[in-house]
Protein backbone atom coordinates (compact mmCIF):
# COMPACT_ATOMS: atom_id res chain seq x y z
CA UNK A 1 0.00 0.00 0.00
CA UNK A 2 2.86 2.37 0.93
CA UNK A 3 4.81 1.49 -2.18
CA UNK A 4 1.81 1.90 -4.44
CA UNK A 5 1.11 5.30 -2.91
CA UNK A 6 4.74 6.45 -3.24
CA UNK A 7 4.84 5.32 -6.84
CA UNK A 8 1.68 7.30 -7.72
CA UNK A 9 2.86 10.28 -5.66
CA UNK A 10 6.18 10.48 -7.49
CA UNK A 11 4.59 10.17 -10.92
CA UNK A 12 1.96 12.82 -10.15
CA UNK A 13 4.54 15.16 -8.60
CA UNK A 14 6.78 14.87 -11.66
CA UNK A 15 3.93 15.70 -14.06
CA UNK A 16 2.69 18.43 -11.72
CA UNK A 17 6.08 20.22 -11.73
CA UNK A 18 6.22 20.08 -15.49
CA UNK A 19 2.66 21.33 -16.11
CA UNK A 20 2.88 24.11 -13.51
CA UNK A 21 6.05 25.41 -15.16
CA UNK A 22 4.27 25.38 -18.51
CA UNK A 23 1.12 27.13 -17.28
CA UNK A 24 3.17 29.82 -15.50
CA UNK A 25 5.55 30.49 -18.37
CA UNK A 26 5.80 34.16 -19.26
CA UNK A 27 8.05 35.99 -21.72
CA UNK A 28 11.05 37.59 -20.04
CA UNK A 29 9.46 41.06 -20.31
CA UNK A 30 7.04 39.98 -17.59
CA UNK A 31 9.80 39.89 -15.01
CA UNK A 32 9.50 42.83 -12.61
CA UNK A 33 12.30 42.39 -10.08
CA UNK A 34 16.07 42.52 -10.00
CA UNK A 35 17.08 38.93 -10.55
CA UNK A 36 15.45 38.43 -13.93
CA UNK A 37 16.78 35.43 -15.81
CA UNK A 38 18.75 36.98 -18.75
CA UNK A 39 16.77 36.52 -21.95
CA UNK A 40 15.47 33.22 -20.67
CA UNK A 41 11.78 32.66 -20.37
CA UNK A 42 10.42 33.20 -16.85
CA UNK A 43 8.30 30.48 -15.29
CA UNK A 44 6.97 29.46 -11.91
CA UNK A 45 7.77 26.27 -10.02
CA UNK A 46 5.59 24.10 -7.81
CA UNK A 47 5.88 20.74 -6.16
CA UNK A 48 4.22 18.33 -3.74
CA UNK A 49 5.77 17.31 -0.41
CA UNK A 50 4.83 14.57 2.03
CA UNK A 51 4.30 16.14 5.46
CA UNK A 52 5.71 13.01 7.13
CA UNK A 53 7.38 10.43 4.87
CA UNK A 54 7.56 7.92 7.78
CA UNK A 55 3.84 8.10 8.57
CA UNK A 56 2.38 8.77 5.14
CA UNK A 57 -1.18 7.79 5.96
CA UNK A 58 -1.28 9.77 9.23
CA UNK A 59 -0.08 12.98 7.67
CA UNK A 60 -0.95 15.15 4.69
CA UNK A 61 0.54 16.36 1.44
CA UNK A 62 1.50 20.02 1.08
CA UNK A 63 1.64 21.87 -2.21
CA UNK A 64 4.30 24.58 -2.52
CA UNK A 65 4.20 27.09 -5.35
CA UNK A 66 6.53 29.80 -6.58
CA UNK A 67 4.63 32.02 -9.02
CA UNK A 68 6.54 34.19 -11.54
CA UNK A 69 8.03 37.22 -9.77
CA UNK A 70 7.20 35.72 -6.37
CA UNK A 71 8.80 33.65 -3.63
CA UNK A 72 7.73 30.10 -2.84
CA UNK A 73 4.75 29.81 -0.51
CA UNK A 74 2.37 27.14 0.78
CA UNK A 75 -0.60 27.23 -1.62
CA UNK A 76 -2.93 27.68 1.40
CA UNK A 77 -2.03 31.39 1.73
CA UNK A 78 -2.04 32.12 -1.99
CA UNK A 79 -4.82 33.94 -3.82
CA UNK A 80 -8.02 32.37 -5.16
CA UNK A 81 -6.73 32.48 -8.74
CA UNK A 82 -3.35 31.08 -7.77
CA UNK A 83 -5.06 28.19 -5.95
CA UNK A 84 -7.16 27.59 -9.08
CA UNK A 85 -3.99 27.45 -11.21
CA UNK A 86 -2.42 24.93 -8.80
CA UNK A 87 -5.60 22.82 -8.66
CA UNK A 88 -5.81 22.78 -12.47
CA UNK A 89 -2.20 21.66 -12.74
CA UNK A 90 -2.88 18.90 -10.23
CA UNK A 91 -5.88 17.73 -12.26
CA UNK A 92 -3.88 17.82 -15.50
CA UNK A 93 -1.02 15.94 -13.80
CA UNK A 94 -3.34 13.21 -12.54
CA UNK A 95 -4.86 12.97 -16.04
CA UNK A 96 -1.35 12.59 -17.51
CA UNK A 97 -0.64 9.73 -15.09
CA UNK A 98 -3.98 8.04 -15.87
CA UNK A 99 -4.67 9.10 -19.47
CA UNK A 100 -8.06 8.78 -21.14
CA UNK A 101 -9.19 9.05 -24.78
CA UNK A 102 -11.31 12.14 -24.12
CA UNK A 103 -11.54 14.86 -21.43
CA UNK A 104 -14.51 17.02 -20.52
CA UNK A 105 -14.10 20.35 -18.68
CA UNK A 106 -16.99 22.48 -17.41
CA UNK A 107 -16.12 26.18 -16.79
CA UNK A 108 -12.71 25.45 -15.29
CA UNK A 109 -11.55 28.97 -16.18
CA UNK A 110 -14.07 30.84 -14.00
CA UNK A 111 -11.57 32.52 -11.62
CA UNK A 112 -8.64 32.92 -14.02
CA UNK A 113 -7.42 36.25 -15.42
CA UNK A 114 -6.69 36.71 -19.13
CA UNK A 115 -3.01 35.66 -18.97
CA UNK A 116 -3.71 32.42 -17.08
CA UNK A 117 -6.73 31.60 -19.27
CA UNK A 118 -4.76 31.90 -22.46
CA UNK A 119 -1.89 29.78 -21.13
CA UNK A 120 -4.45 27.16 -20.09
CA UNK A 121 -5.89 27.21 -23.60
CA UNK A 122 -2.43 26.53 -25.02
CA UNK A 123 -1.96 23.49 -22.77
CA UNK A 124 -5.39 22.08 -23.52
CA UNK A 125 -4.79 22.57 -27.23
CA UNK A 126 -1.53 20.62 -26.99
CA UNK A 127 -3.46 17.76 -25.33
CA UNK A 128 -5.62 17.38 -28.41
CA UNK A 129 -2.78 15.75 -30.31
CA UNK A 130 -3.42 12.60 -28.25
CA UNK A 131 -6.96 12.96 -26.92
CA UNK A 132 -10.22 14.78 -27.57
CA UNK A 133 -10.94 17.77 -25.32
CA UNK A 134 -14.50 19.06 -24.78
CA UNK A 135 -14.54 22.44 -23.06
CA UNK A 136 -17.52 24.42 -21.75
CA UNK A 137 -16.69 28.06 -21.15
CA UNK A 138 -18.27 31.51 -21.04
CA UNK A 139 -15.00 33.29 -21.95
CA UNK A 140 -13.55 34.04 -25.38
CA UNK A 141 -9.93 33.46 -24.34
CA UNK A 142 -10.20 29.68 -24.41
CA UNK A 143 -13.00 29.38 -26.94
CA UNK A 144 -11.04 31.19 -29.64
CA UNK A 145 -8.62 28.23 -29.88
CA UNK A 146 -11.10 25.41 -30.43
CA UNK A 147 -11.63 23.51 -33.71
CA UNK A 148 -15.40 23.66 -33.61
CA UNK A 149 -17.75 25.68 -31.52
CA UNK A 150 -21.25 24.80 -30.35
CA UNK A 151 -23.65 27.48 -29.17
CA UNK A 152 -26.29 26.17 -26.78
CA UNK A 153 -29.53 28.06 -26.17
CA UNK A 154 -32.93 27.52 -24.62
CA UNK A 155 -36.07 28.06 -26.69
CA UNK A 156 -39.67 26.93 -26.27
CA UNK A 157 -38.72 25.12 -23.04
CA UNK A 158 -36.00 22.98 -24.53
CA UNK A 159 -32.29 23.10 -25.23
CA UNK A 160 -31.10 23.64 -28.79
CA UNK A 161 -27.55 23.37 -30.12
CA UNK A 162 -26.04 25.31 -33.04
CA UNK A 163 -22.65 24.68 -34.62
CA UNK A 164 -20.55 27.61 -35.79
CA UNK A 165 -16.94 28.51 -36.63
CA UNK A 166 -15.33 30.44 -33.78
CA UNK A 167 -14.86 33.93 -35.17
CA UNK A 168 -15.09 37.08 -33.13
CA UNK A 169 -18.66 37.95 -34.11
CA UNK A 170 -19.97 34.46 -33.48
CA UNK A 171 -18.55 34.24 -30.01
CA UNK A 172 -20.41 37.37 -29.06
CA UNK A 173 -23.56 35.79 -30.49
CA UNK A 174 -23.75 32.97 -28.01
CA UNK A 175 -22.26 34.58 -24.94
CA UNK A 176 -25.42 35.22 -23.01
CA UNK A 177 -27.15 37.32 -25.58
CA UNK A 178 -30.61 35.99 -25.98
CA UNK A 179 -30.76 33.78 -29.03
CA UNK A 180 -33.88 34.55 -31.03
Amino acid sequence: KRDAFLDAFQKIDKEFRNIFAQLTTRDSGYCNHDNCPPGRILHGDAWLELDNPDEIFNAGVTLFAKFPNKVERDIIICSGGEKTVAALCLILAIQAVKPAPFYVFDEIDAHLDAVNSSKLAEILQSRTSKSQVIMISLKDTILSRVDTMYGVYHERSITKILKFRPTEKDIEYSKGISVK
Partner: protein, 165 residues
Protein backbone atom coordinates in the same frame (compact mmCIF):
# COMPACT_ATOMS: atom_id res chain seq x y z
CA UNK B 1 -11.39 6.87 -29.36
CA UNK B 2 -13.28 10.10 -29.43
CA UNK B 3 -16.90 11.23 -29.33
CA UNK B 4 -18.40 11.85 -32.76
CA UNK B 5 -22.09 12.26 -31.96
CA UNK B 6 -24.48 12.61 -29.02
CA UNK B 7 -28.18 11.84 -29.51
CA UNK B 8 -30.85 12.25 -26.84
CA UNK B 9 -34.54 11.57 -26.52
CA UNK B 10 -36.42 12.58 -23.37
CA UNK B 11 -33.15 13.39 -21.55
CA UNK B 12 -33.22 16.44 -19.21
CA UNK B 13 -33.73 19.77 -20.95
CA UNK B 14 -33.28 18.36 -24.49
CA UNK B 15 -37.00 17.54 -24.61
CA UNK B 16 -38.95 14.53 -25.79
CA UNK B 17 -38.12 14.88 -29.49
CA UNK B 18 -34.81 13.46 -30.73
CA UNK B 19 -31.90 15.90 -30.55
CA UNK B 20 -28.53 15.14 -32.10
CA UNK B 21 -25.21 16.95 -32.28
CA UNK B 22 -22.14 15.95 -34.34
CA UNK B 23 -18.85 16.75 -32.70
CA UNK B 24 -16.25 17.60 -35.33
CA UNK B 25 -12.58 17.78 -34.44
CA UNK B 26 -10.59 17.11 -31.32
CA UNK B 27 -10.87 20.44 -29.54
CA UNK B 28 -14.56 21.16 -29.00
CA UNK B 29 -15.88 24.38 -27.46
CA UNK B 30 -19.37 24.75 -25.97
CA UNK B 31 -20.79 28.07 -24.88
CA UNK B 32 -24.15 29.71 -24.25
CA UNK B 33 -26.19 31.61 -21.64
CA UNK B 34 -26.72 30.43 -18.07
CA UNK B 35 -29.29 27.65 -17.89
CA UNK B 36 -29.22 26.94 -21.61
CA UNK B 37 -28.24 23.27 -21.27
CA UNK B 38 -24.44 23.09 -21.60
CA UNK B 39 -23.75 20.94 -18.52
CA UNK B 40 -26.65 18.67 -19.48
CA UNK B 41 -24.60 17.62 -22.52
CA UNK B 42 -21.92 16.32 -20.15
CA UNK B 43 -24.57 14.58 -18.07
CA UNK B 44 -25.78 12.84 -21.22
CA UNK B 45 -22.27 11.50 -21.93
CA UNK B 46 -21.82 10.38 -18.30
CA UNK B 47 -25.21 8.63 -18.44
CA UNK B 48 -24.36 6.79 -21.67
CA UNK B 49 -21.06 5.44 -20.34
CA UNK B 50 -22.85 3.96 -17.33
CA UNK B 51 -22.61 6.54 -14.51
CA UNK B 52 -25.09 5.49 -11.82
CA UNK B 53 -24.64 8.16 -9.14
CA UNK B 54 -27.46 10.71 -9.56
CA UNK B 55 -25.36 13.41 -7.88
CA UNK B 56 -22.77 13.24 -10.66
CA UNK B 57 -25.54 14.28 -13.08
CA UNK B 58 -26.92 16.82 -10.62
CA UNK B 59 -30.31 15.17 -10.00
CA UNK B 60 -31.77 13.85 -6.73
CA UNK B 61 -32.48 10.41 -8.30
CA UNK B 62 -31.95 8.81 -11.70
CA UNK B 63 -35.56 9.35 -12.77
CA UNK B 64 -34.80 13.08 -12.54
CA UNK B 65 -32.90 12.65 -15.82
CA UNK B 66 -36.17 12.18 -17.70
CA UNK B 67 -37.49 15.35 -19.37
CA UNK B 68 -40.02 16.78 -16.92
CA UNK B 69 -42.20 18.24 -19.65
CA UNK B 70 -41.45 21.89 -18.73
CA UNK B 71 -45.10 22.42 -17.97
CA UNK B 72 -46.34 20.17 -20.81
CA UNK B 73 -46.13 16.40 -21.23
CA UNK B 74 -43.21 14.79 -19.43
CA UNK B 75 -41.33 12.02 -21.20
CA UNK B 76 -41.74 8.47 -19.92
CA UNK B 77 -38.13 7.53 -20.55
CA UNK B 78 -34.74 9.08 -21.22
CA UNK B 79 -32.45 7.71 -23.89
CA UNK B 80 -28.94 8.73 -24.91
CA UNK B 81 -26.78 7.31 -27.69
CA UNK B 82 -23.15 8.35 -28.12
CA UNK B 83 -21.20 7.40 -31.23
CA UNK B 84 -17.49 6.85 -30.68
CA UNK B 85 -14.81 6.84 -33.35
CA UNK B 86 -12.94 3.59 -32.80
CA UNK B 87 -10.48 3.59 -35.73
CA UNK B 88 -7.72 3.33 -33.09
CA UNK B 89 -9.38 0.05 -31.89
CA UNK B 90 -8.90 1.18 -28.27
CA UNK B 91 -12.27 -0.45 -27.64
CA UNK B 92 -11.72 -4.11 -28.49
CA UNK B 93 -14.48 -4.26 -31.07
CA UNK B 94 -13.54 -4.61 -34.70
CA UNK B 95 -15.48 -1.64 -35.94
CA UNK B 96 -14.61 1.97 -36.81
CA UNK B 97 -17.74 3.14 -35.03
CA UNK B 98 -19.04 2.07 -31.66
CA UNK B 99 -22.40 3.30 -30.41
CA UNK B 100 -23.35 3.16 -26.76
CA UNK B 101 -27.03 3.54 -25.92
CA UNK B 102 -28.64 3.70 -22.53
CA UNK B 103 -32.32 4.08 -21.78
CA UNK B 104 -33.99 4.53 -18.42
CA UNK B 105 -37.73 4.41 -17.55
CA UNK B 106 -39.33 6.21 -14.61
CA UNK B 107 -39.18 2.99 -12.60
CA UNK B 108 -35.44 3.35 -12.66
CA UNK B 109 -34.25 0.29 -14.65
CA UNK B 110 -31.61 0.90 -17.30
CA UNK B 111 -31.20 -0.89 -20.62
CA UNK B 112 -27.80 -0.79 -22.33
CA UNK B 113 -27.16 -1.33 -26.05
CA UNK B 114 -23.79 -1.73 -27.73
CA UNK B 115 -23.94 -1.11 -31.47
CA UNK B 116 -27.67 -1.60 -31.26
CA UNK B 117 -27.59 -4.94 -29.37
CA UNK B 118 -28.59 -5.34 -25.74
CA UNK B 119 -25.71 -5.99 -23.36
CA UNK B 120 -25.21 -6.40 -19.66
CA UNK B 121 -23.92 -3.32 -17.84
CA UNK B 122 -20.95 -5.36 -16.58
CA UNK B 123 -19.91 -6.31 -20.14
CA UNK B 124 -20.05 -2.68 -21.14
CA UNK B 125 -18.10 -1.52 -18.06
CA UNK B 126 -15.32 -4.04 -18.75
CA UNK B 127 -15.00 -2.95 -22.38
CA UNK B 128 -14.92 0.73 -21.46
CA UNK B 129 -12.48 0.26 -18.58
CA UNK B 130 -10.00 -1.45 -20.91
CA UNK B 131 -10.30 1.53 -23.22
CA UNK B 132 -9.65 3.87 -20.25
CA UNK B 133 -13.13 5.37 -20.54
CA UNK B 134 -14.58 5.89 -17.09
CA UNK B 135 -16.59 8.44 -15.20
CA UNK B 136 -14.77 8.16 -11.87
CA UNK B 137 -11.34 9.36 -12.95
CA UNK B 138 -10.57 13.05 -13.30
CA UNK B 139 -11.23 12.96 -17.05
CA UNK B 140 -14.60 14.59 -16.28
CA UNK B 141 -14.12 17.87 -14.43
CA UNK B 142 -17.60 19.18 -13.54
CA UNK B 143 -18.52 22.79 -12.74
CA UNK B 144 -17.13 23.77 -9.34
CA UNK B 145 -14.65 20.86 -9.05
CA UNK B 146 -11.60 23.08 -9.54
CA UNK B 147 -12.58 25.51 -6.75
CA UNK B 148 -13.36 22.53 -4.54
CA UNK B 149 -9.88 20.99 -5.13
CA UNK B 150 -8.24 24.41 -4.70
CA UNK B 151 -9.50 24.53 -1.09
CA UNK B 152 -8.44 21.01 -0.02
CA UNK B 153 -6.32 20.83 3.13
CA UNK B 154 -3.18 18.69 3.25
CA UNK B 155 -4.97 15.52 4.51
CA UNK B 156 -7.52 15.82 1.73
CA UNK B 157 -4.73 16.21 -0.81
CA UNK B 158 -3.21 12.96 0.42
CA UNK B 159 -6.65 11.39 0.11
CA UNK B 160 -6.91 12.55 -3.49
CA UNK B 161 -3.67 10.78 -4.38
CA UNK B 162 -4.75 7.66 -2.49
CA UNK B 163 -7.88 7.49 -4.65
CA UNK B 164 -5.73 7.44 -7.78
CA UNK B 165 -3.77 4.41 -6.59
Amino acid sequence: VYIKKVETRGFKSFGSRPVSVNFEGRFIGITGPNGSGKSNIIDAILFAIGENRPRMMRVPKLSGLIFDGAGGNPSTSARVTITLDNTSREISIDNDRVTLTREIRSGGDSVYLLNGKKVQKSTLSDLLRLALISSDGLNFVPQGMVTHLADLDSDEKRGLIEEIV
